[in-house]
Chain length 527, copies 2
Amino acid sequence: MSQLLGHNYIGGQRSAQGDIRLHSLDASTGEALPAVFIQATEAEVAAAANAAAAAWPSYRNLPALRRAEFLEAIAEELDALGEDFIATVSRETALPTGRIQGERSRTSNQLRLFGQVLRRGDFYAARIDRAQPERQPLPRVDLRQYRIGVGPVAVFGASNFPLAFSTAGGDTASALAAGCPVVFKAHSGHMATAEWVADAILRAAERSGMPAGVFNMLYGSGVGEWLVQHPAIQAVGFTGSLKGGNALGRLAAARAQPIPVFAEMSSINPVLLLPEALQTRGAAIARELSGSVTLGCGQFCTNPGLILGLRSPAFSAFIEQFKQQMAAQPEQTMLNRGTLANYRKGLQHLHDHPGIQHLAGTSQGQDKAQPQLFQADVSLLLKGDELLQEEIFGPATILIEVEDQAQLFAGIAALRGQLTATLIGEAQELTNWRGLIELLQEKVGRLLINGYPTGVEVSDTMVHGGPYPATSDARGTSVGTLAIDRFLRPVCFQNFADELLPAPLQNANPLGLLRLLDGEFSRAAIS
Amino acid sequence: MSQLLGHNYIGGQRSAQGDIRLHSLDASTGEALPAVFIQATEAEVAAAANAAAAAWPSYRNLPALRRAEFLEAIAEELDALGEDFIATVSRETALPTGRIQGERSRTSNQLRLFGQVLRRGDFYAARIDRAQPERQPLPRVDLRQYRIGVGPVAVFGASNFPLAFSTAGGDTASALAAGCPVVFKAHSGHMATAEWVADAILRAAERSGMPAGVFNMLYGSGVGEWLVQHPAIQAVGFTGSLKGGNALGRLAAARAQPIPVFAEMSSINPVLLLPEALQTRGAAIARELSGSVTLGCGQFCTNPGLILGLRSPAFSAFIEQFKQQMAAQPEQTMLNRGTLANYRKGLQHLHDHPGIQHLAGTSQGQDKAQPQLFQADVSLLLKGDELLQEEIFGPATILIEVEDQAQLFAGIAALRGQLTATLIGEAQELTNWRGLIELLQEKVGRLLINGYPTGVEVSDTMVHGGPYPATSDARGTSVGTLAIDRFLRPVCFQNFADELLPAPLQNANPLGLLRLLDGEFSRAAIS
């Protein structure tokens, strides 16, 4: 099983028609790993999209319970992967074993959570308005509504979560849950990992009797453009850079049939430190916050990239403590050489900016990433300076001292959309800053109090989304069960005989769903 | 009140800074009506967008009940408009009095229905996952989620529904319900009507204590482009042509911050006539269907533009009956001269096409619209001929005879996305055509059996949407309560003290909402 074939996955078969050979790299050494991956040709991309389209009618029509069993089978297969698998992921990403094991559990539990959603059935959003033949001036006809998948979905995995945001990650899980077959574009940073996981998905598909083509995977750079442009693809899920997400969005909008794209892209995740909290527990905050900034080498979408405080002796004291904490953080190996090069470039831009001062951090070399702390003049924030608004992917963050409350509000207002914002404050002062909570709601997908944004719970309540450029569409999330909504659309049935209706809408309510029945929620069967 | 000022509505004030003077036309005579409307300048468009943005924080934070009262007040004001108003609408649109009165009721009831949604509170989609401090390996923190409006919405009214899809129509009602202030672009076809309705909205806003800027309205052509490009606008609702909707979609995607557009555009609404039904009640179907094709002069988005039947003596007999019915339909005045010119052009394209044959209809003149029936060769459908796929706005329809079931399926598969599809069949034969029902689901927003697609019930269950080009985003609807979803986005609150949470998420459940609490739906308060 550790022998990797390196061929594309198309309709349940392996395919290698191309002649471009790709290698995955050892993340620590930069050396090419032995396995060879064959880049997909344009014809193979089309074949994968068509295989997904061919699987769609039968896959979407499976009872939700069957799709739940499929997702749960993937989870089992993932959990059963052994030491070899963990070693492969670690070698391709430089992530430590414990992190990979934790991310694997998160990924399989995420699949199981979507299984629960499918069993619960609320994703159908079933609604029934019974006929009112006597209504005046016009009778009302029987109308029923539920949701179906949009069709085949193209998914692009992220470099920083080789499991949870990748082959069998949240986008794939939510699309499959919605009844949409997936064509997955493997990330060049962890192609061997992708192959292990794709094999697990295919084993699960086979033993749960899924149609061939329910899951497909392609290797290679540039193949994603063909994929998004293929007419069979009906939606796109993406996690990655602002540049990459924007490019996919433009391609999708320029199609003969435009399709929706959900791209999770760029967020600097502001953290606001309120005065009383700093006074009461500044040292602890400095310690915890430096831990959040450097967690996983700062390679999280929710990494705190901007720290705001009000000018005060307490904030000045905090800055000193935070400098020490950041200076004491160890260097770490990044996901790959490209990521490190980008981090170096990002740091250089900060060093070169006259309004930005370097506060802490060892000089950045060519090898591991050094944690870094900067301080920017508040005017940069108020002017909307680009450098301050762009995510620097790595263990670095920027402090800003604001004069007063008015300037803090103006600074927040100048921020673009974010995945998260965090308030650190004492109970009483938070009550006095209600207006700030309101303003922040307009900017973010998730608002935290006295916590740190790294660490994203996979649950019914999570929002890993937010206004642009955090994502391309603030109405979605890529983590949590609400992610399924991105790939569902409503269909209305008018004047249908009961036996012609899909099960969720039948009178007997065979699935026991909570349905909106004549304007009230009910699990009742109707006659 | 019948004295129209003709100035733009900005932040509760009237404004006329421009020097382009516009006139509304009498739809029947084409003569300019006396009132003058002043086209908005670019600065006025910006002022309107900024007024909406200024109203947003206070408007979105009003209790949902207050917004319900506002919508209900608009409904009351609309219903209170007198004979003068009806006469104005009739003069601008050539629609008969009865239709206008019916449409007014539909519009005010639509506002009241959104009031019910606001009182019901399910639009919040409240979810709570309580903290699990003892969970292993990591504790779970308290997480809660609800939905807020996306921000100011630009709405473009339709020519064919001067009330229900216009100033106080479904897009405006759903945006206002979602907590989003509106900037409405008045349709040039009924500017006087728009002014009457805008005045009604402003009276309602004043007596229900809404912030200035909750509703704004602009006159003029071209001003819509400035509006969609203004940074304060966060979403767009549009009903109109494919060309117009596509243009807005491109503008929205090209913004520095791309925003979602819901455009309802083009649908030919296929009607499939099954053999037994034709045998049993062909004459009745011919009569009913001709009524649906010519209803409201064929100026409905759901007008049946394509009629498919299987080659058989029954279908041949139906064609003869349908020819007679269509030939007997009276001429009607269209909404305006431009609409008539487009209808004439559309008919000419059909006449000129070698694969299309004219079956019935008086020669189309320069005055009123003549109902027309054509028959196209099935090869046009199978080849995806553009002419067959494009909506012809007016009382015309096209028949196609298919050879057999396989050809029928191939023809359906070749269709683009539709608002509706209709099956006319007897009970037993419908059971045998289940596969067709499945295939049609993939193409449409609404599927009807033994009914006609004209006539769109405003309800919880309606879907007035569908895959492109029926709309720009199949995940939405512009009629029915689900329309509110287009303008809502989720926000997650992590580790919030109860008193800092918005009411829908507080422990005591003060709004009595049905909430997803630790994975189960419940109205329970929690401690």
